[in-house]
């Protein structure tokens, strides 16, 4: 399954957040969207997952158009969005948060959901230790792991990650990116990653998309982006 975005334009009221964006996210790849704050990266993800409606343009997930679908349906077709800000449900326990990720398919594939949850516990042992604890007792890094874990329980074909490293210690960031890269290698899952931490993201990605004030500046492999001195200077800071 490939994600194809064509001529996507998204407005926030009178402000144009994304102008005429066109790019592909090939299956089994890790694509990193980088750009300055306010470049429209989060808006892009939110529109793909259906939380926001685009003004014009199309989003194709293989043959299916996503622009008019409800978020719940988009999730059920295999696209899982982990929003920014450590989006866990603080009033629920760690285990309940993970279960939430699979609750929609609990009736049909109960054993698989529980298997997926166990896989998340293997991936993030810290979560397993805190299984029965309420999510608000977790640290920032643990919450991010929980949020990502919840997304993984749904066994997504495409995982949308919004700034997973935001506000986390460098060591934790390392660990998370390492895990993501390993996960992708093992399952062949497609990952679309939005990051301000451009270097870490480009290091694990096979495609980099640079956004500047809502426009796609370049969509190419990370090496090409880093070789371009002007781009490197503007977006990677060196």
């Amino acid at each position: 399954m490939t994600l194809r975005v064509r001529g996507l334009t998204i407005d926030h009221g009178a402000i144009r957040a994304i102008s005429n964006a066109t790019f592909n996210v090939p299956r089994g790849s890790i694509t990193a969207i980088i750009g300055a704050n306010g470049a429209g990266k989060s808006t892009l993800l939110r529109t793909i997952s259906g939380l926001k409606r685009a003004t014009t343009g199309s989003i194709l997930w293989d043959e299916t158009s996503l622009e008019k679908l409800q978020t719940e349906e988009i999730v059920r077709s295999g696209i899982v969005h982990v929003p920014e800000g450590r989006s866990v449900v603080t009033e629920l326990t760690v285990h309940e948060n993970l279960l939430l990720g699979g609750v929609w398919r609990l009736r049909k594939s109960k054993s698989d959901v529980y298997a997926a949850i166990n896989e998340v516990y293997e991936l993030f042992p810290r979560l397993s230790e805190r299984k029965r604890q309420r999510a608000d007792s977790l640290s920032g890094g643990e919450r991010q792991m929980l949020a990502i874990g919840r997304g993984l329980v749904a066994r997504p074909e495409l995982l949308l990650l919004d700034e997973p490293s935001l506000g986390l210690a460098p060591l934790v960031v390392e660990q998370i990116f390492h895990t993501l890269s390993g996960l992708q290698a093992k399952t062949g899952m497609t990952i679309l990653l939005v990051e301000q931490n451009a270097m870490s993201a480009l290091r694990i990605a096979s495609q980099g998309i640079v956004l500047d004030q809502g426009r796609v500046v370049i969509a190419d492999n990370p090496q090409a982006i880093m070789n371009d001195a002007a781009l490197r200077h503007a977006y990677l800071g060196f």
Binding site: E72, L92, L100, L106
Partner: protein, 297 residues
């Protein structure tokens, strides 16, 4: 009138307040709307129960019928009215005001319709249980067989509800949808359906409360308005965000009002509830069990 008697008398009416508070909090948690029309919905369901009772002469069928009517009406109101209004609310200021006013309008419609169909006079609602105080050790306490039935039913209903919420996947989805609707949508849960279910559930609970209280209060188109005010007070006392708090609040209110009525006379009941509400809103707006910062809509 000794203290124990007043306490006992307060428990059974407190149980009813708990039910109403439960219904209000359920809807508040899932949609951020206080359903002031709950009184009308409950009364409507109870009237349907009454009609069933008159037609089939069976108390239990009437009870079940009322609860089912409550479920259906609750779902109907959410799907047809609430969704539309919440979607159309444009500014932050309107989002909180519009649903409240809409519910009041709905209440008026309910009451008018009930008056049209069933008439405005008070009607008696029958019960199969004895209404005289039970006799324990030769003393009669202000707690009848019917009161016991009411109390037990409320306990059973709350237990079922608690079980559903805490132990089932549906309950998990409902809790998540109330706490974090966006995250829950992103988890593939059809949050709008969950909300409808929440309203249906609340409607059913309201219908149950109506049928339980009707034998003692008689029923007329606006006989439950007061119940709503007390139920709301109970919900605020316990904490608008906490279902358990609402239940406790209901009991506390029932007992408190009973004590006041016992020692000061019935004309002070209103005022006591009112004073209690104002005091709680001023000192601890989040209620006994509510989380801090929850007082703003």
């Amino acid at each position: 009138m000794n203290l124990v008697n007043t306490l006992i008398a307060g428990v059974s009416i407190g149980a009813i307040y708990s039910l109403i508070a439960f219904a209000l909090i359920l809807v508040w948690r899932s949609t951020r709307v206080v359903n002031f029309a709950q009184a009308g919905q409950a009364a409507f369901s109870t009237y349907i129960g009454l009609s069933i009772e008159k037609a089939l002469d069976n108390f239990w069928l009437a009870l079940i019928g009322a609860v089912i009517a409550g479920l259906v009406v609750g779902a109907f109101v959410e799907v047809v009215i609430v969704r539309f209004i919440v979607k159309r609310a444009t500014s932050a200021a309107t989002v909180t005001v519009a649903p409240v006013i809409a519910m009041l309008g709905l209440l008026g419609i309910f009451q008018g319709v009930m008056g049209l169909i069933w008439g405005g006079e008070y009607q008696a609602y029958p019960t199969v249980f004895a209404r005289d105080g039970l006799i324990i050790n030769g003393n009669q306490i202000p707690f009848s067989q019917n009161d016991l039935f009411v109390l037990l039913t409320v306990v059973v209903a709350m237990s079922i509800a608690a079980l559903i919420f805490q132990k089932t996947s549906l309950g998990l989805a409902m809790r998540a949808a109330a706490f974090a609707p966006e995250v829950t949508r992103l988890s593939g849960v059809r949050v709008s359906r969950i909300r409808t279910l929440g309203w249906a559930f609340a409607g059913g609970v309201g219908g149950l409360a109506g049928v339980l209280v009707a034998p003692t209060t008689f029923i007329a188109p606006n006989s439950f308005d007061l119940l709503l005010v007390f139920g709301f007070t109970a919900a605020v006392i316990g904490g608008l965000d906490s279902l358990i708090g609402g239940v406790l609040g209901g009991l506390a209110l029932g007992i408190g009002l009973s004590v006041v009525t016992g020692y000061l006379g019935g004309s002070y009941t209103f005022m006591t509830a009112f004073v209690l509400l104002i005091v709680v809103l001023l000192i601890r707006p989040q209620g006994i069990l509510g989380a801090r910062g929850a007082r703003r809509a």
